[in-house]
């Protein structure tokens, strides 16, 4: 029997590193992600004149930007594998778990980067200072975890299905809606608005969403990835 010389962590890391390396060389997903975010943000900043936004509106804008930027690029990692036929190599080489979590980790990195870049831009261009940094950072991390769990599975699904673009947002939106609704509430608090009463419940929902979506995604992934 062939021996298994690598641990699961090694394999996940190998996928993550491979994706990061080819992304660094091609800048395919990153360009789409950041340009989309920047364009939307600039448009919003012009439209609002940089003043008069309530914390609620600002948080809606923030997550609309993140949501659509994420959908513009997070499926890339799978779409490219399928289109260039490297998916066959991957299927015959890597265990499904490693593929799922490797891609999951890479998408998480992209999203956290996007959020890190978006935060100062948001503060400057929309004139919306962060009032509570603890809430803000917790929201960003939990939000990225939830978004990434769902988009990794659905990204794989649309890549394998051979359908692109529009369908990604159509499929993602209904499943992401509970997440987005709660994210907007906690972000509102981070911007100094809203009510802090339900904050703990909110974070609980965000955490639960991330755990449920990751588990479901991980269990369903083999059915997407293999016939």
């Amino acid at each position: 029997m062939p021996k298994a010389a690598s641990s699961s962590a090694d394999r996940i890391w190998a996928i993550f590193a491979k994706d990061a390396r080819s992304e660094y060389r091609t800048r395919f997903a990153v360009n789409a992600l950041f340009l989309f975010a920047l364009v939307t943000l600039t448009a919003l900043s012009f439209a609002t004149g940089g003043a008069g936004l309530t914390p609620l509106l600002a948080s809606v804008f923030f997550w609309v930007i993140v949501f659509f930027s994420a959908l513009s690029s997070l499926a890339q990692t799978f779409v490219k594998e399928v289109e260039t036929k490297t998916a066959t190599f991957l299927r015959l080489t890597a265990p499904d778990d490693a593929v799922f979590f490797g891609k999951w980790g890479f998408n998480l990195l992209l999203l956290l980067l996007l959020e890190a870049v978006l935060t100062p831009l948001f503060i400057v261009m929309l004139n919306m200072p962060v009032a509570n940094w603890t809430v803000w950072i917790a929201t960003l991390i939990l939000g990225a975890l939830g978004l990434v769990s769902t988009t990794t599975l659905i990204g794989a699904l649309i890549a394998v299905a051979g359908v692109r673009g529009a369908l990604f947002s159509v499929l993602s939106f209904p499943v992401l809606l509970p997440l987005l609704v709660v994210l907007i509430r906690t972000t509102e608090v981070a911007f100094g608005g809203g009510l802090e009463v339900g904050l703990r419940d909110g974070f609980l929902v965000l955490g639960t969403y991330a755990v449920v979506a990751t588990t479901a995604g991980w269990m369903l992934f083999p059915f997407v990835w293999r016939e």
Partner: protein, 211 residues
Amino acid sequence: MVGEQPHTSFALQIEGLSKSFGKRVICRGADLRLATSESLAVVGPNGSGKSTLVKIIAGLMRPDAGAITHSFDSTEVERAVWHRHIGLVSPELALYEELSGSENLDFGNRVGGWGKSAADYTAVLDEVGLGGRGHDLVSTYSSGMKQRLKYAAAFLKDPALLILDEPTANLDEDGVARVWSSLARRTLALIIATNEPSEAERAQSRFVVGR
């Protein structure tokens, strides 16, 4: 030559395999057996479904009916881990263009747990005639070099079952010679899907697709 051959006891068994796309029949109730050191040619005209059959055997596609078992020492291997012992060289498989040749091998080795070292990469690249080009990006390779790299990856993996779909596609004379001599030195179960009578003749038995 890279690696030892610890898996001398591999066996592939197919019983009552059927697959069709609508009215197009690829096989109906096919039975097949293949063990280590044996070889099988899958033949048939263009579009008859050679690649489909090969995919089914590799576990990349489901048959409509029938059973396929992969086993070592008569112990059946779960379908979910077939990928561990299968090597595939096919037009439907590609390596990463934005990585170099040896980065591709390194990726396969790490993610597949092949237990090989950098010295093995060099050896196998030499074997397929890519010596000295391992650090170039695959996107700079010619189509023949890409085909050679697929062989390098398949050989490095040391598969118990090696499946070749159009084995000499894009290869020049030197490439073809290298491939056949490398194959002759290895102990494995071999499946060759091809249109070329000369290639099919290299196999001990044959299976005709589309009947």
